[in-house]
C-alpha cells in the first residue's frame, strides 16, 4: 500500500513538471483507445448484421436440387435427369444417422393469391413442417406454422411471408382470414416474422406463400421435389453427410455417387464459415489500424518516461544507495507508464461509450447503412482493447525503466 502511495505521489510530482506533455499524451492514448474501440465495434456490428442476414435462410443447412447425371453408370447413359420423391426425405433421415433433420418443397412461380379485391402473383411453396426450424419460417405472435396434421389431412391452410401479408391485408389481421390460392380457398394460419435475408433462392421468404406439401401436390399435381434440405447433427460432419446423401440417392436412382451433377448442393455451412473468416479478417485489420494509433501514443509515453528517468537520475541513485533493487526501480517506472496508459484508456473508454450510444440512437432507413450503422461493443472488444492498451503502456514504460535500472549509482549521485 505504502508503495502505491509513493508511486502516486511520484506520478503527481512528475505530472506537475511535465503537465502539458503528459496531458497531451493522455489525450493521444484516449484518442487511440477511442479509435480502436470504434473500429472494432463497427466491425462487430457489421459482422452481426451480415451474419444475421446470412443465416436468415437457415443455419447449418445444405440445400439440394436434383440435377442431371454427368457420368454413365452401370450401363446407363449420362445426361439422365434425377427426380427425388417426398419419401426420399424419410429414407435419407433413416439411413444417415449423421443427419438431424430433413425437409423439402414443391414450388411454383406466379401463383395467384387473392384476398377480397386484392390479387397478386406470388412464389408458392408446398413444404414440410421441418421448414419452421430448417428455413426459419417462424410465425409471428398469434399464428403458427404448418404442422404434421396439416400434411396428413391435406388441409388447405396457408402461411404467408410478412411482405405478402402486408400487401394483401394492408395492416389488417391476416390469421384466420380466407384467401384464394389459384381460386382454391385457404385459411391463413400464420405470418412469418420479418427477417433481413441476404441469402436466398427463388426470392426472399417474406414474399412467399407457403402451404402444406401434400395440399400442394393435390392442387398442382406435383410429385417430385424441387428442393431437398438437410441439416447435419454437427456442422463438422457436413462433408460426410453430403457424401452419404450421394451414396444413398445414387444407389436408389442408379447414379455414380461421385457424380456431383446428379444432385446440386449448396452448402451454407461452408459459405457461412468463409464469411465468418472474412469478417474475422476485417476485424483483425481494423484492430491493427486502431492498435497503430495507440502505438503512436505509446511512443509519446515512452518519450515522457525517458525524460522522467533523466530528470530523476539523482533520485534513482539515492534509492539505490538506500538499497533499492534494480527490479524496484524498474517497476516504479513501468507502473508510472501504466498509470498514464490507464488514465488515457479510461478517458477513451468513456468517450467511445458515449459516441457509440449516440450513433446507435440515430434511426437508419438506408439499406446499405443498416449494415454499418449499428456498432456493438462486446466484452471481447473491451478486453482486447484493454490488453492492447496495457501491452503498449507496459512497453512504453519498460525500455525507459530498463535504462533507469541500469544506472550506475555512483555516477548518478554526481549528476546535477
Amino acid at each position: 500500500m505504502r508503495h502505491l502511495w509513493y508511486l502516486l505521489r511520484l506520478f503527481i510530482s512528475d505530472f506537475n513538471k511535465q503537465r502539458k506533455k503528459i496531458t497531451l499524451t493522455i489525450m493521444a492514448i484516449a484518442w487511440g483507445t477511442v479509435s480502436i474501440i470504434m473500429l472494432l465495434s463497427f466491425g462487430e456490428g457489421l459482422k452481426r448484421q451480415l451474419e444475421a442476414g446470412n443465416t436468415a435462410m437457415g443455419k447449418g443447412i445444405v440445400i439440394v436440387w436434383p440435377g442431371q447425371t454427368s457420368k454413365s453408370y452401370k450401363g446407363l447413359p449420362h445426361g439422365r435427369r434425377i427426380w427425388m420423391k417426398p419419401e426420399d426425405m424419410s429414407l435419407i433421415k433413416q439411413r444417415i444417422p449423421a443427419i438431424e433433420e430433413v425437409g423439402g418443397e414443391f414450388s411454383r412461380w406466379g401463383v395467384d393469391i387473392r384476398y377480397g379485391e386484392e390479387l397478386m402473383g406470388r412464389h408458392c411453396t408446398g413444404v414440410t413442417p421441418s421448414y419452421e426450424n430448417l428455413r426459419y419460417h417462424i410465425p409471428m405472435q398469434g399464428g403458427r406454422f404448418i404442422n404434421q396434421k396439416d400434411l396428413d389431412e391435406k388441409r388447405r391452410v396457408a402461411f404467408l411471408g410478412n411482405e405478402t401479408a402486408e400487401k394483401l391485408f394492408k395492416g389488417e389481421e391476416a390469421v384466420g382470414k380466407l384467401v384464394y390460392i389459384n381460386r382454391v380457398p385457404f385459411t391463413v394460419i400464420g405470418v412469418m416474422i420479418p427477417k433481413e435475408q441476404t441469402n436466398m433462392y427463388s426470392g426472399p421468404d417474406n414474399e412467399k406463400v407457403v402451404i402444406p406439401m401434400t395440399t400442394f401436390g393435390t392442387i398442382f399435381g406435383d410429385v417430385y421435389l424441387d428442393v431437398f434440405i438437410f441439416k447435419p447433427k454437427v456442422s463438422e460432419d457436413v462433408e460426410f453427410a453430403k457424401r452419404e446423401v450421394y451414396r444413398v440417392m445414387g444407389s436408389k436412382y442408379k447414379f455414380d455417387p461421385n457424380d456431383e451433377r446428379a444432385l446440386h448442393m449448396w452448402d451454407t455451412i461452408e459459405t457461412q464459415q468463409i464469411m465468418t473468416n472474412v469478417l474475422l479478417g476485417i476485424q483483425i485489420f481494423m484492430g491493427i489500424i486502431g492498435g497503430l494509433t495507440l502505438l503512436v501514443a505509446g511512443v509519446g509515453v515512452a518519450n515522457i518516461m525517458y525524460v522522467t528517468v533523466r530528470r530523476r537520475t539523482r533520485e534513482i541513485g539515492v534509492k539505490m544507495a538506500m538499497g533499492a533493487k534494480p527490479r524496484y526501480i524498474l517497476w516504479e517506472f513501468i507502473l508510472e507508464a501504466l498509470m498514464i496508459g490507464v488514465s488515457g484508456g479510461f478517458v477513451g473508454f468513456l468517450i467511445a461509450g458515449i459516441i457509440i450510444r449516440v450513433i446507435r440512437q440515430i434511426p437508419i432507413e438506408d439499406e446499405a447503412l443498416k449494415f454499418l450503422g449499428k456498432p456493438v461493443v462486446s466484452v471481447e472488444i473491451a478486453v482486447i482493447t484493454a490488453i492492447i492498451l496495457t501491452i503498449i503502456a507496459f512497453l512504453a514504460g519498460f525500455f525507459p525503466s530498463r535504462r533507469a535500472a541500469k544506472i550506475n549509482p555512483a555516477e548518478s549521485l554526481r549528476y546535477e
Binding site: 500500500m1 505504502r2 508503495h3 509513493y6 505521489r9 511520484l10 503527481i12 510530482s13 539523482r314 533520485e315 541513485g317 539515492v318 534509492k319 539505490m320 544507495a321 538506500m322 538499497g323 533499492a324 533493487k325 534494480p326 527490479r327 524496484y328 550506475n408 549509482p409 555512483a410 555516477e411 549521485l413 554526481r414
Partner: protein, 224 residues
C-alpha cells in the same frame, strides 16, 4: 578479520579520450568500530574511494573485501541488500526525496528491506526521536533547516542498523553549529559501536577523529 580490506585497488575513469586515474594502488584495512576521517584536496579521489567502500561503484582492478566477501563476485541484488542492511550513507547535499515527508524519507530503506508496516512505524519514530526530530515527522525537506535535513538523512542512514556509516562531507553545507551537532551524533554512534568513515575538509573535525587517511592524486599519503 578487518571489516573492510582493500588490496591494490585502482579506479580509472574513461570519459571519451581522457582517462583519469582516480585511485592508485590503495591498500586500506578498516577494523570494526573504527572512526576514520578521509581528507585531501578536491579531486584527490575521496568520493571515489567512499563509493567503492559503499558498493556503489566497482574498482577497475584490485580486491575489495567487505565483511569477508569479495564484492566483485556479488550480483546486483546482493549488492542492493548489502547497501540496504550493512551500509548507511550520508551525503553533503542530504539527498532527501523532496516530495516526501521526513517520516517517509526515513521509511524508505525499511521498505526496500521488506520490513512490515507495523515495525516500520515504530522504527521510524524511534530513529527520528534519536536525531531529535520526532516532532518534525510530517514536515517536507523544504520546511526544514539544513542541519535538520542532515539529521533526517542520518536517521535514514541508520534505518536498518548498518554496521558501517559512510559520510561524504556531511557538514560541507552546514554552518559550524549545525555541523557540530552532526559530528556529535557521529561520535555517539561510534561510542555505540558503529564503524564510521567520514570525508571532511574541516581540519577541526578531522582532529577529533581517531584515525585519518590522507589522499592526494589518488594515492594514500602520510602527509599532505
Amino acid at each position: 578479520m578487518p571489516l573492510i580490506q582493500m588490496q591494490e585497488l585502482n579506479k580509472k575513469y574513461n570519459s571519451g579520450k581522457v582517462s583519469v586515474e582516480a585511485l592508485k594502488d590503495i591498500n586500506v584495512d578498516v577494523e570494526e568500530n573504527e572512526f576514520i576521517a578521509i581528507v585531501g584536496p578536491s579531486g584527490s579521489g575521496k568520493s571515489t574511494l567512499m563509493n567503492i567502500m559503499g558498493c556503489l561503484d566497482a574498482p577497475s582492478s584490485g580486491d575489495y573485501i567487505l565483511d569477508g566477501a569479495k564484492v566483485s563476485d556479488l550480483k546486483p541484488n546482493r549488492l542492493a541488500d548489502i547497501r540496504n542492511r550493512k551500509i548507511g550513507f550520508v551525503f553533503q547535499n542530504f539527498n532527501l526525496l523532496p516530495y516526501a515527508s521526513a517520516y517517509e524519507n526515513v521509511e524508505l530503506p525499511l521498505i526496500f528491506g521488506g520490513i512490515g508496516p507495523k515495525r516500520r512505524k515504530s522504527r521510524v519514530m524511534e530513529l527520528l526521536d534519536r536525531v531529535g526530530l520526532a516532532d518534525r515527522a510530517e514536515h517536507k525537506p523544504t520546511e526544514l533547516s539544513g542541519g535538520e535535513m542532515q539529521r533526517v538523512a542520518i536517521a535514514r542512514a541508520l534505518a536498518n542498523n548498518p554496521a558501517i556509516i559512510l559520510a561524504d562531507e556531511p557538514t560541507g553545507n552546514l554552518d559550524s553549529v549545525a555541523g557540530g551537532s552532526i559530528m556529535e551524533i557521529f561520535h555517539e554512534l561510534h561510542r555505540d559501536g558503529a564503524t564510521l568513515i567520514v570525508i571532511t575538509h574541516d581540519r577541526q573535525i578531522a582532529n577529533n577523529i581517531p584515525r585519518v587517511i590522507k589522499l592526494k592524486d589518488g594515492l594514500v599519503v602520510d602527509s599532505l
